[in-house]
């Protein structure tokens, strides 16, 4: 298993380098311009100077190599220095990846936003799974019952109604009409008492609900299908014939086997937590990574978009690997060596 993991990790390196180059090339070739959104009162000569000050005057290969150096050498060194408080020396000369829009290090902004995304989007994912697995199990166990019918209907609605519709809908009902929850996520809120904790819960309810609804719809369908496959297997009949209780049959035998494909779906979905729910974050003004990405794209903030997209690529490669390893843990028959 260890051997396999190491081999996969080594293979990941050339894959990621190719991905980073493709991302860079796409962004560099896109006819987008960081000065494009400035007011027209700023004349073209000034814009040209701004572009040169941003480093866009240099040829493409140099810009790519610079980014590689900044991302793979300078940023890790800086992170280590920050963490352990010592200096490698020459820190002045090491430039970090700097955003075009903020002129500040991209990584600082990303780290500042990570907690919000993990909290809101991550929590909605957990809530989604917690709702979806029982619904999937019960729907399959009582196939074609009214519970299954309602569950199927709700899943279909959750899956097909986009978050840009459910988000404003919840705002109109719960913020405008009822006035229960704030429509704008207050990112400066510090949780240091019961009162602020309650405020934090209140402002998280709507974005988490919107996303959890969407995630749960998807996962519960997988769960149901997988349970149905397993319920008709011979080993289930054997287990029942041996006189095991329904609880043991369902939860110990069928559920464990049915989880294998669902785990893949869940694991492959985790990188999307980091990439944030772009639209939902935008609607509720949650200052997560998704919102950062969309602002970066709109403003042609190439270093920001490049770094974020590449980090997502790393996460996707990583979680593919994790999904494969978790298979082995769930099903001892699966061996990679």
């Amino acid at each position: 298993m260890l051997n396999y993991t190491l081999r996969r990790l080594l293979f990941a390196i050339p894959t990621l380098i190719v991905i980073s180059f493709i991302i860079f090339a796409i962004l560099a070739l896109a006819p987008s311009d960081p000065t494009g959104n400035l007011p027209l009162t700023i004349p073209a000569e000034v814009r040209e100077k701004i572009r040169i000050a941003l480093g866009l005057g240099e040829p493409l290969p140099i810009r790519y190599l610079k980014w590689l150096q900044q991302f793979f050498i300078n940023e890790p060194l800086h992170a280590i220095e920050q963490m352990f408080g010592f200096s490698f020396g020459g820190g002045e000369a090491r430039t970090r990846v700097v955003s075009f829009a903020t002129r500040g290090p991209v990584m600082d902004t990303i780290m500042e936003r990570m907690p919000q995304t993990l909290w809101v989007v991550g929590l909605s994912y957990v809530v989604g799974i917690l709702i979806a697995v029982p619904i999937g199990v019960i729907s399959a166990y009582k196939q074609y019952s009214w519970f299954d019918q309602v569950g199927t209907f709700v899943s279909m609605v959750g899956f097909s109604v986009p978050t840009f519709f459910t988000g404003p809908l919840l705002i109109v009902i719960f913020s405008v009409q009822l006035g229960w929850f704030p429509s704008v996520y207050d990112t400066t809120l510090e949780v240091n008492s019961l009162g602020t904790f309650w405020q934090q819960i209140k402002q998280m309810i709507m974005p988490v609900t919107v996303l959890a609804f969407y995630n749960a719809a998807q996962i519960s369908r997988f769960m149901r299908a997988s349970m149905l496959d397993n319920l008709s297997q011979d080993y289930v009949r054997t287990a029942r014939a041996k006189g095991m209780s329904e609880k043991v049959v369902i939860l110990t035998h069928v559920l464990r086997n049915s989880l294998i494909p669902v785990v893949t779906v869940i694991a492959l979905g985790i990188p999307t937590i980091f990439s944030g729910a772009i639209i939902t974050e935008q609607i509720f003004r949650v200052n997560g990574l998704g919102q950062l990405l969309i602002i970066g794209i709109q403003g042609a903030d190439i270093p920001m978009v490049q770094t974020l997209t590449f980090m997502f690529a790393v996460l996707i490669v990583l979680f593919n690997l994790i999904a494969d390893i978790v298979y082995g843990l769930l099903d001892p028959r699966i061996r990679y060596d």
Partner: protein
């Protein structure tokens, strides 16, 4: 919890003393909540030209003078506005001397002096800095401190309007002590200073989160002991214009929302909730059609869209251009897409009032019959498909603009209006970052203008139109020779116009300048090289609880936030 408590207390206090609100002491009105649907990225306006960044920093940094909502200049850090009459502007118009207010301190308590002003100029004029306000410092030869409270700006040419440097929120004064190691190429490295500039304004930065939110606290060293009325301020960014409007007009979570480009009927619906009001004010922005006078035919290769490529097959005929203008019902465009944010206009130079011409007002009414007659008389006859043609040239127009739902609505309406005079229109929209971007390799920029008609809005900073009217001289025509940098999109070229532009640069008298600007505007209008459509205003919304607030179309909307009350 504490924040909630102060809020409750402040609201209670505000309602008790509502009558004396204008005289309230500093910090008595609690928290000011501002929402901009574009989030601020940086608080150094020299490094960003984005309105959101300039407005956010205008709560902290101040220039020597600001524009009032009525367009007049008002001294901020200066004692008075220098003019030729009071001796502040030299008789040869080559220098301006600013006297600074005495006793002003930065928010860290240190004294504000003339050296800071000189430093700010040098910071922006540094060749490697990529300063966004560089055009404010055009023709500045040097800036020198005569004593601690007097600054002289020397120009290399006579400047009849010397109020470029240090007037308006785009070119404020930054603190020398804080930025002295951040000159030129080092500017981006000073994140800490760029995210938290020390200023002389009513607020100082408490916390800055790039592309998200800024919290401010009142500057205890602010020169007026009773201002600002608010103890803290929050500048929240992100989202979209409609939800920003909702948070002020319907839920009341915010006090002020900026730039609400939302369909007019949605805005008036929200306003009906009674929590706030929508306000608009008109500056110099005009949504206009630019007419391509050169040939954009792709078959021309490198000569496409250049003067060398020859004139446009049909738009070089003034009758066609005039007919296109006559056929447009501008009032419908305003009602459909702009509402309170738009007015019909027939000028590219619609304001300030002394510059606004009345010679072209006929365009305000649509006249399809006159347009048809004009085309008939000029020999453009309708073919079997209802499209006019002459000598094998069909009146078929490619009409491009940036991607934006209001613009696409306008495009569709105009296409329909032009179909009534036998003109066929193909619509195209291009992402704003590409259209307004300067990418040399892209064929879709507004400078290259590889289309027949293009539509966008332009305006000018401040109240002086000299530089703006200078956009349409021959030397401003974009071409491969100048890397397509130039503002004369129609490729209009007239000796008379160029001469007027030169003359204006040497004229000091306001009346003469106004007469020249009007004449230039009329030349452009009567040649129909640009077809103005809508005079666009700023539209914002503020809570009914906010007092003493007036929308400022000439400067940062927050330039006078120190005067706001609850």
């Amino acid at each position: 919890m504490r924040k909630l408590k102060t809020l409750v207390l402040a609201t209670a206090a505000a309602s008790c003393f509502a009558a004396t609100a204008a005289q309230a002491e500093r910090g008595s009105a609690g928290q000011l909540n501002i929402v901009y649907w574009q989030a601020a990225s940086i608080l150094n306006p020299f490094l960003s030209g984005g309105t959101k960044d300039i407005d956010a920093s205008s709560l902290i940094l101040e220039p020597l003078a600001n524009y009032r909502p009525d367009g007049s200049m008002d001294p901020t850090l200066a004692e008075e506005i220098p003019t030729v009459e009071n001796g502040g502007v030299a008789a040869d118009l080559r220098s301006i001397t600013w006297k600074l207010k005495k006793g002003v301190t930065w928010s860290d308590g240190s004294a504000f002096t003339a050296n800071d002003v000189v430093f700010s100029a040098n910071y922006c004029m540094h060749p490697e800095g990529g300063c966004n306000a560089a055009s404010n410092f055009a023709d500045v030869e040097s800036v020198e401190a005569l004593d601690d409270h007097t600054v002289r700006v020397n120009f290399s040419v006579a400047k009849p309007f010397p109020y470029g440097p240090f007037v308006g929120a785009t070119s404020p004064v930054i603190q020398e002590a804080q930025f002295k190691d951040c000159m030129g190429a080092k500017a981006p490295e000073c994140s800490e200073a760029n995210f938290g500039p020390i200023g002389t304004g009513p607020f100082k930065v408490n916390e800055f989160r790039a592309n998200d939110v800024i919290t401010y606290t009142a500057n205890e060293n602010y020169r007026d002991p009773n201002q600002p009325a608010f103890a803290t301020a929050v500048f929240k960014g992100g989202g979209d214009a409609a939800s920003a409007a909702r948070s002020v007009l319907e839920t009341g979570e915010f006090d002020y929302a900026w730039n609400l480009q939302v369909e007019p009927e949605i805005l008036s619906q929200m306003e009906a909730a009674g929590k706030g009001k929508v306000v608009s004010a008109f500056g110099t922005s005009v949504e206009r059609l630019m007419v391509q006078l050169t040939n954009p035919d792709p078959a021309l290769g490198d000569l496409r869209g250049t003067v060398e490529g020859g004139p446009h097959p049909f738009l070089s005929d003034i009758n066609v251009r005039k007919a296109l203008s006559l056929a447009i019902d501008r009032q419908i465009l305003v009602d459909a897409g702009y509402g309170p944010a738009g007015q019909v206009t027939c000028n590219v130079l619609p304001a300030p009032a002394i510059y606004a011409s009345t010679a072209n007002d006929a365009c305000k009414t649509q006249d399809i019959d006159a347009a048809n007659k004009l085309l008939d008389d000029a020999g453009w006859a309708k073919g079997g498909d209802g499209i006019r043609a002459k000598d094998g040239v069909r009146l078929s127009i490619l009409y491009q603009t940036s991607t934006n739902s209001v613009r696409q609505g306008t495009q569709a309406l105009i296409k329909q209006m032009w179909s009534q005079i036998g003109v066929e229109t193909e619509l195209r929209n291009i992402d704003a970052a590409v259209f307004f971007g300067g990418d040399q390799s892209s064929p879709d920029t507004f400078q290259k203008f590889f289309a027949d008609i293009e539509m966008y809005t332009n305006n000018f900073d401040g109240t002086d139109p000299e530089a703006y009217m200078g956009n349409w001289v021959c030397s401003e025509i974009p071409s491969p020779a100048n890397q397509w940098i130039g503002n004369n999109m129609p490729r209009f070229c007239s000796e008379e116009y160029d001469a007027l532009s030169k003359e204006m640069a040497q004229t000091a008298s306001l009346e003469d300048r106004a007469a020249m600007a009007k004449k230039m505007n009329d030349m452009l209008m009567q040649e129909y090289v640009m077809i103005p459509l809508i005079h666009r205003g700023r539209v914002s919304a503020h809570s009914n609880k906010l007092g003493n607030v007036e929308l400022n179309p000439w400067d940062s909307e927050l330039a006078y936030a120190e005067e706001w009350t609850r």
